[in-house]
């Protein structure tokens, strides 16, 4: 019976000219977005790979030079684009994808005010994710709003009810029918998407990404189920199909336009983040103060006294190592403490903002879907932070090695020491693996639960359609 109703709704939908038009438009947009995403992914990945190799060659082919100069010369670290970023760019366009790693400075590339992108900002770029998150629900609404209200106006609802059809079966069948209609464009779209991903993936990468791809597909499926359920429930209860359409369009607008913006504002209030200028100013002030409130000069003096006492000598020239290098490493580590404090505070504010965003899914399921989508694609702020942390750890390792070589192999005041190029090889190339799936999903728990709640409540409301209003 369920299948029979679904089949009829499906046939009815397929014969509807409006459906055929809108489906054609949506699938064209999706295909275009996937194509553009694929091309962009391939181009950027190629550029990154080439730049990374060139960078490494440059580093290795440095002539003999002072290790601290080498540290100043620095290297670039590139954030590997994840495969799914071709579907969901997430915050990547706002935070940048490369970090310049050099002595004395933590990379600042990740600091952009647009991190919590609002819907309108995202509207500009038609990635596949935008289409799935914004446009598909609109199509569902247009498809499903007359499900009951339209039949009521046509008079066929009386005919159906007079047959003794269970309202819940009718609602379930209609839900399946809308889902089948949607399948007409989602099945080819999924095939296209998987093809684009498989084409773009390097050897073996596709298999590795399978769980993420699968979960992302499930996330969007759940999202569409929610919209189908909401549309049917509204259509069953609305006075007329006009009212049903208006209510559903309002829900769509709140979900995709209003809520993301409002939640961004709320998040900024709950966990304020400084402007780029404020951040740098505060950071510089603290760097000057030193990690314990003592100025770098005072810290250098106390380091000098400690080391002179330890080695029972009276001048730094008599120390068995280059005091300048040791002092520079101490300054480096002092700076790191300050960096960790400032960046730590910044990222924890972002994390709190993110949780506020996710909780917004209580009213707008889009917010849960967006968080999950970006988390699965590896393009959310947390993934960005993981990359920033990894590149920062690499920078510290590199600087420490350079300062260590200088300390060991030269004496205080000797800035003319030149390290042998073999030293460059001792620094391994920068590699980065994105955090494991479980870890990144841990950050999306509110979204996971809220989306699940929407699905359950939606389906239960459809199944619990008991009485149908006939006029």
């Amino acid at each position: 019976m369920l299948a029979r109703i679904a089949t009829k709704e499906f046939t009815d939908t397929l014969r509807d000219g409006r459906f055929r038009w809108s489906a054609a438009i949506v699938i064209t947009l999706l295909a275009a977005a996937l194509g553009a995403g694929w091309k962009n992914y391939r181009d950027v990945k190629g550029q990154h790979d080439r730049a990374q190799t060139a960078m490494r060659d440059f580093w290795l082919n440095q002539p003999a030079k002072n290790p601290h100069s080498a540290a100043h010369y620095g290297v670039w670290a590139f954030k590997p684009r994840t495969l799914l970023s071709l579907v969901e760019q997430g915050v990547d366009p706002y935070v940048g994808v490369a970090a310049y790693l050099e002595a004395h400075k933590q990379n600042e590339f990740q600091f952009r005010p647009a991190m919590d992108a609002t819907a309108t900002q995202r509207f500009g770029q038609w990635t596949a994710a935008t289409i799935l998150q914004i446009l598909l629900p609109l199509l569902i609404v247009v498809l499903a709003f007359p499900a009951f209200a339209g039949e009521r106006e046509l008079g066929t609802l009386r005919q159906l009810v007079s047959l003794g059809v269970k309202p819940s079966v009718l609602a379930g069948g209609k839900a399946l029918g809308v889902a089948a209609g949607l399948g007409v464009l989602l099945v080819p779209a999924t095939i296209l998407g998987v093809m684009a991903l498989a084409l773009a993936a390097s050897e073996g990468a596709f298999a590795v990404e399978m769980p993420r791809i699968g979960l992302m597909a499930l996330t969007y499926l759940a999202y569409f189920v929610v919209f189908i359920a909401v549309s049917l429930v509204v259509s069953a209860r609305a006075r007329s199909s006009r009212v049903a359409l208006l209510v559903l369009l309002a829900f769509w607008a709140v979900n995709s336009l209003v809520a993301p913006r409002v939640l961004s504002d709320v998040a900024r209030r709950v966990a304020p983040t400084p402007s780029a200028f404020q951040f740098i100013t505060a950071l510089d002030a603290d760097l000057k103060k030193g990690p314990d409130g003592h100025s770098p000069d005072v810290r250098t003096d106390s380091l000098r006294r400690t080391l002179l006492a330890k080695h029972r000598v009276s001048t730094v020239d008599s120390l068995p190592f280059n005091f300048d290098a040791v002092q520079m490493q101490q300054a480096e580590e002092d700076g790191n403490i300050v960096f960790d404090r400032h960046y730590g505070a910044l990222y924890s504010a972002y994390r709190r903002q993110n949780i506020v965003h996710q909780l917004g899914a209580v009213v707008a399921p889009l917010l849960a879907v967006r968080a999950l989508s970006m988390g699965l694609a590896g393009t959310d702020v947390e993934h960005h932070r993981a990359f920033a942390d990894a590149s920062e750890a690499y920078r510290r390792m590199l600087i420490k090695k350079m300062n260590g070589s200088m300390a060991e192999n030269s004496r205080s005041g000797d800035f003319s020491y030149k390290a042998d190029p073999s030293l460059w090889k001792e620094v391994p190339p920068f590699t980065y693996e994105q955090p494991p799936l479980v870890l990144s999903m841990g950050m999306q728990l509110p979204s996971l639960w809220l989306l699940l709640a929407w699905v359950v409540i939606g389906l239960v409301s459809v199944v619990r359609t008991r009485k149908l209003n006939l006029d």
Binding site: M1, R4, I5, K8, T11, D12, R15, D16, L154, G155, T156, R158, Q159, L160, V161, S162, L163, G164, V165, K166, L470
Partner: protein
Amino acid sequence: MSATASLSSRAEPQPAVSPSTLAPAAVLEAKGLTKRFGAFTALNALDLEIPEGEVFCLLGANGAGKTTTINLFLNFVAPTAGTASIGGLDVTEHPLETKRHVAYIPEQVMLYKNLTGLENLDYFASLATGRSHDRDELLGYLARAGLQVDAATQRVGGYSKGMRQKVGIAIALAKRARALLLDEPTSGLDPKASNEFSELLSMLREHGAAILMATHDLFRAKESGTRVGIMKHGTLVQTLSTADIGHADLERIYLDHMRD
């Protein structure tokens, strides 16, 4: 081949009616059935019994309460007092079960315009019976209702009112309905279509259906009905057996009631 002949030559027997679900006496029964909309009484304490093989025609002016009566039997509206039962089961307590044996044909049979008549029948019939029917069986019902293959395979968008009614009858046939609720089914039909409809009713009645038909058409009521009830301001004021009176008598009695 007449519709009646084709019905009686049907291979499949009617399903046996279990005495537990269908009381032998009355298929359609109203007891003190009353419906008020606010202070307005649309139907006042209706007592009515329609056994198998009877066509009861409800006559009455617009607003007399005929549609309300039918809507109450279909549980489309809830009664203010009294009960409506089909096959001995209260329609408010058994909303799904009581509909299993009833077919409803309103003034306008509403169908899906994007589907053909055959597809509409297929859909409604399978929802009514919970099983699928093959094409020949369905075309058979449509033919018996007077709709031939070429018309049946066209989309309903271009159907006349009479053609829609025939699809409605075909649904009733497919459903093996024991009771029919007809709300002014012939109003707006041309005389020929109206006559065909009456013949279909006779066929269904002869087959043991209990039929309640609301109508304005005194002539049709006398022709097709076994009994007529005259309804006025929500009250059933008189019930007559059509066999006992002529057209002229019926018209006189009806107009007498309408006078004041």
